[in-house]
Symmetry: C2
Subunit: 254 residues, 2 copies
């Protein structure tokens, strides 16, 4: 007898970003799998159990959740942000793809959430208002040279770039090199946003420039948005500047 596995996006930060659908899915599940800080955000009932695992144990967490669901349980795998963007939904699919046939009979529901770049962009205006790319800067699963080729491709064609996983203790130099790679094609005053822990009490959001960006601190809870040639900064009296990427490309900039 096959159960059901919901991969639920909690959004970043607190419950303000939780959707009605995510709330209903959380109420309906009995076993919860996830990274401990995400599980800690849930107010589970006595009949619901939490199974915490390390942030890097994505595939083994997916396998444990699928095993429980294939045995008939109503299972939830929780992700911060959106589960489909550099998070658990791909790990669950990968586990199904390489797992036993019974896992293909489990009902799978992916419940979208507000992903970090949308929350970060909202804090400053509309930097993602023009065509953009979302890249993970982690080179744990892909060669660094490929990351740089994607960055060059985006900058050379005027796309805004949102960077996930910009830095960690094990990956201290990648962000500076990524910013240098983008700077080869973009103006030094291109607006850059560092948004850390959006929606949490320790949220910090900084608007800087591509030239000054290497000075900013970043970690795994930071989303960095690097504007394109159409990204503008609007100064405001007594308020953080707005940043937006113009919808229209002037003929002269083609």
């Amino acid at each position: 007898m096959s159960g059901r596995l919901a991969v639920i996006g909690l959004g970043p930060g607190d419950d303000a970003y939780l959707t009605a659908e995510a709330r209903a899915e959380i109420a309906g599940a009995e076993m919860f799998y996830g990274y401990a800080p995400y599980l800690a955000r849930l107010a589970l009932r006595g009949d619901q159990t939490a199974h915490a695992s390390d942030n890097r144990a994505e595939l083994s967490r997916a396998e444990a959740a699928l095993t429980a669901a294939a045995a008939g349980a109503r299972v939830a795998v929780v992700s911060g942000g959106d589960p489909g963007v550099f998070a658990m939904a791909a790990a669950v699919c990968e586990a199904i793809d390489h797992g036993p046939a019974a896992w293909r009979e489990v009902e799978i529901a992916v419940v979208p959430g507000i992903t970090a770049m949308l929350a970060a962009a909202a804090r400053v205006g509309a930097p993602l208002g023009h065509d953009f790319c979302a890249l993970s800067l982690s080179d744990n699963l892909k060669p660094w040279d490929l990351v740089c080729r994607r960055l060059r491709a985006a900058a050379d064609t005027g796309m805004v770039v949102a960077l996930y996983n910009p830095a960690s203790r094990a990956r201290p130099w990648q962000l500076a090199q990524a910013l240098r790679t983008l700077a080869a094609s973009l103006a030094p005053d291109t607006p850059v946003i560092f948004a850390r822990a959006v929606g949490r009490p320790d949220e910090t959001v900084t608007v800087t420039t591509l030239a000054a960006a290497p000075e900013e601190p970043a970690d795994m809870a930071t989303c960095v948005i690097v504007g394109g040639p159409l990204t503008q900064r609007i100064e405001r009296p007594g308020r953080r500047p707005l940043v937006y990427s113009a919808r229209a490309v002037p003929e002269a900039r083609q």
Copy 2:
């Protein structure tokens, strides 16, 4: 006296995608500006007024909303999906950038929502699980040649592509040409998803291939996701196939 302008993302489809923050912002506003079908999704109270405008009147709608907010009103501009992705937040910023100084004193809050590509991706698994681009196929505001250069840049570097505004009555041929452009770099069996009206009663989601994709109907309510070299399709008995983009790049594919 300056009021407040909230640019609120309602998510696609019905209220399942509405966040707690969006719900609170809707409750707190007194004047609502937006495209009529989005305003129709709100259950406004007697003390709240709706000001509908045409889908293409984005800049004049933003100006009307800013005029009301600068006069002291609590104003909401509503968008389907996320207001920062090819929607109203950039139009509001653009109006501020080119408008009277008083508009820079209005408190601006952008409230993120589930954008179409996240809802579309969730319906089939995790096609956006690897690096990706989000492009609007509309060439009303940018040259078509630039759209094609961005498509080639994405496909040549193995990024997944999410296409917004793929087709309309006035733009009937762009999607087929975009698919041909991508097909120059991608395998004919690359998975492609057409997701229309996700979350609405008339929702349709189709998983096809790049070779067969030109046969699929599309309109302004459709989001098209074209996979990359790492995008896999998993067949399942009695269920829609899953589609996901693998997180890891095998060395051989560099």
